[in-house]
Amino acid sequence: MSVDGKRNGPGALGGNGEFDVVGRRLRKVDGLKKATGEAVYADDIKLPRMLHCKILRSPHAHARIKHIDFTRCRAHPGVVEVLEGREIPTRYGVIPWTPDEQALAADKARFIGDEVAAVAAVDELAAEEALELIDVEWEILPALIEPEDALREEANKIHESSKKGNISKHVDLSFGDVQGAFAGCAAIADESFFYEGSTHTPIEPHCAIGHYDSDGNLTVWSSTQIPHYVHRELARVLELPEARIRVIQPFLGGAFGGKSDPFSLEFVVAKLSMKTGRPVKCLFTREEVFWAHRGRHPMKMRFRVGLSKQGAIEAVDSKILIDGGAYSSFGLVTAYYAGQLLTGPYRFGTYHFDSTRVFTNKPPCGPKRGHGSVQPRFAFEVALDMAAEKLGIDPIEVRRINFIGENVRTVNDQLITSNGFLRCLELVETASGWKERKGKLGFGRGLGVAGSMYISGTAYPVYPNEMPQAGIQVKLDRSGKVTIFSGASDIGQGSNSLPAYLIAEEIGCDPRDCVVVASDTDLTPVDLGAYSSRITFMVGIACLEAGQKLWAQISAAVAEKWGVEAAQVDGALGTIFVSGTEQRISFREAVQLAEAKFGTLGSTGSYRTQKLGGNYRGGTIGASPAYSFGAHVVEVEVDPETGLWKVERVWAAHDCGRALNPTLVEGQIEGSVYMGYAEAAMEEMTYYPSGLHRGPSLLDYRIPTSLDTPELTALIVESNDPNGPYGAKEAGEGPLHPVIPAISNAIYDAVGVRLTELPFHPGKVLRLLRNNRSPRAERSEVNRSPRAERSEVERPPASLDEAREAPGGTSAKSSAGVSVR
């Protein structure tokens, strides 16, 4: 909407010169509620007669349940009701093709922490005490902890339903003659990588309250980021009509993908409420959040990257073994994303990937921020540096040379529209002083770069249907208040604020007069959820449609009153006017004119799934209406005596299309970089050989504090996507990717060793330094050790197994825990 420079001009109000609301650093619509403690999260809800529920979890990694005896449990004076798996046996899963979870295991438990039985009691303590009184008779089965074991021991199936052994999903896709292309390459990097698993640890533990009322309606309040899928699965498992179920997502205390599956507690509280006729609450302990997991998949990856003499990427080949844990979750998608999301921002001549997700008897992995693509991105960006080094090409230059461009198709036939990657590279190159400083910082200090791309939502809805992926309804009140109903799940990213900003921009109201009612399946239109970085793009487009319909009515009514053309009427921040005239009224008066002319005012908007993607099996997975791009430069300092390293600064440039609110975009970049840094530096989900987690607490599972987190500079690039709302694309997940390989590349620049395994513990750095004799490393005193033979270090391992045994290779895991036998 254009603006009257005089009265409503951006100059007076701090806008960016183009829009009234979009692009401004506005507060969030719910910020003060959070600041004052007034915001109500799931565990803050207390209903009359509410019972408390606790869930019994398996102490065995793989064991058949022979019998559950509740006799002693029922005798506990605080116990009101109990529940076991066979009462709600229907299998579910977020992906309709792979329903392999049960709210409570009816046949067998598949990891230490798997849910087995539940109790509802008068208070939380009584429920906890009662769990001790449930007697389960187990038949212990051999546990498969390592993915290689799970592959080998095909007869010991974790899921009887899996088609072949313990394979959850296998994808093998080839684009062009990869092997032929390698033959013509001037430089090939061939390296094995290991990406350790990590988990989301939102500060809010999962919590759900179920209330089955006397009218036969079920309401579930849940800390979920996918109310719609929870709604569907509740209906299936509880055998209730969907129309009898209401799912409400209250304020949510962080998710990061960790709340994007239906979880046992949602079914359990619902069923226990149906059995007791009373509201039932279940709040996970922090330990249980670790069992619930659905975090980053550990991946063992072999990558080959071949460059032409000029540095063009001619061939990329990867073989990836994905440790899926005990259930499918989004695993079908993970196996695809591990390959499908790598094909930008660079042009690949040819590409092949082979990814296999296997079941193991550990907590299930799932979609953690940057789902499926963070791991291969790490491997690829390090391998790209290795190949470029052989040709003597600067790391930023090789990325620039291979820029895929705008409005092009990737090697796997995904359509890229806008692409601000070159601008991102330029910004971080300048900000970091790359040209002047790279290679001149002395031993122990270095710079590293990496790039990435990510989806802005996926064209492929989780269940195939022709209906919209996102919807918005707007109600205009004659008071001037604008009520917006949005199905989107605000998980902290600000999706409750987004509709207020966009509707205000479209209809000329003050964004402070907008009230957003969100994520309540009775009140709000369907939105598929907060995943795949889809909300800004898809809900944004729905907002534009709803807003434009209303504006047509408002402007027509005002135009009629003033005797002008509707196109002459303009509006901004609560004033409706005709530019260059004295004609002006308040938004409230304009609404009243429109209501008088058209009757009760309201409108809807939706985002419809576009048909996108390659014409091959799996070609729609990874197909997005727009891709975000980013480049990071990291400066590190490494102490060669101890292997300790420190990030001095991260320069993170991200192409988000358009920053609808720069403060919120920066927040997403900063949070992503923090989380990527955390995975590189310290986070690891590690298990004892029995499958028991080594430290399911926020003390043992280390996450960075304010003292650990590096200083960072977030740089926004606006490529103005032709399809995005006001040109916007995603910002919530893409910026997590580049920082990790950039740190590895910076450590190499500093001390000459390649970190190929996460996390980059100082011990690994030190071991590599001692074994390394690259020219860069030889400048260090500690590298004068004659032990390592050059040939051993440089020869790439022939297989994943060999990589595990290689010096300084994945063998370090024997101390870190994952490969312990």
Binding site: R24, A35, G37, I203, R286, S706
Partner: protein, 186 residues
């Protein structure tokens, strides 16, 4: 909820010790509450008094979401017993506002985008307010140290540190929000 008589019966059956009456001074209001000796201060605040602004993230003193002020000092209420805090002057996030105006830390957190999911932030803002009480102009490093017991998973801490600098008058927010900051409690 079970009646007091039922509670007494099953406490006796379970061998739970009887509840004791404690007087808690929270946000300037005195509350008489019956708690078990094992009841944490957080449980008393959240579930007995209904002051749900203080959050439970770990229930073992690791995350800091439960931070409250006891006589002006930031403490972890999830590993403090309610019975130990009789007579202490307790402040929760609900009590940071003064005379109908939010605390400068609360306002700055909102202004600077430091509130993403908001779940850790009650504790974070309490720690920040305690810091500014003893050090009106802390350096960025001092802020990091003071907040290092409060884990945040959303922000990467950047905007939080910025917000504390804004609240302490050491940083101008780059592009001031044109909306007047009334500071009125919604």
């Amino acid at each position: 909820m079970a009646s007091p008589r039922t509670t007494a019966i099953f406490n006796a059956v379970l061998g739970r010790p009887p509840k004791v009456l404690v007087s808690l001074d929270v946000n300037g209001e005195r509350h008489e509450v019956a708690v078990e000796p094992r009841t944490t201060l957080l449980e008393a605040i959240r579930y007995t008094l209904g002051l749900t602004g203080s959050k439970q993230g770990c229930d073992k003193g690791d995350c800091g979401a439960c931070t409250v002020l006891s006589n002006g000092r930031a403490i972890l209420s999830c590993i403090s017993l309610a019975v130990e805090h009789q007579g202490d002057r307790l402040t929760t996030i609900e009590g940071l506002a003064r005379e109908g105006k939010v605390h400068p830390v609360q306002d700055a957190f909102d202004l600077c985008g430091a509130l993403q999911c908001g779940f850790c932030q009650s504790g974070m803002m309490i720690s920040a307010a305690a810091l500014l009480e003893r050090n009106a102009k802390p350096s960025r490093q001092e802020i990091k140290e003071a907040l290092s017991g409060n884990l945040c998973r959303c922000t990467g801490y950047t905007k939080i540190l910025d917000a504390v600098e804004v609240a302490s008058g050491q940083r101008e927010w780059e592009e001031r929000d044109p909306r007047p900051t009334t500071g009125a409690i919604p």
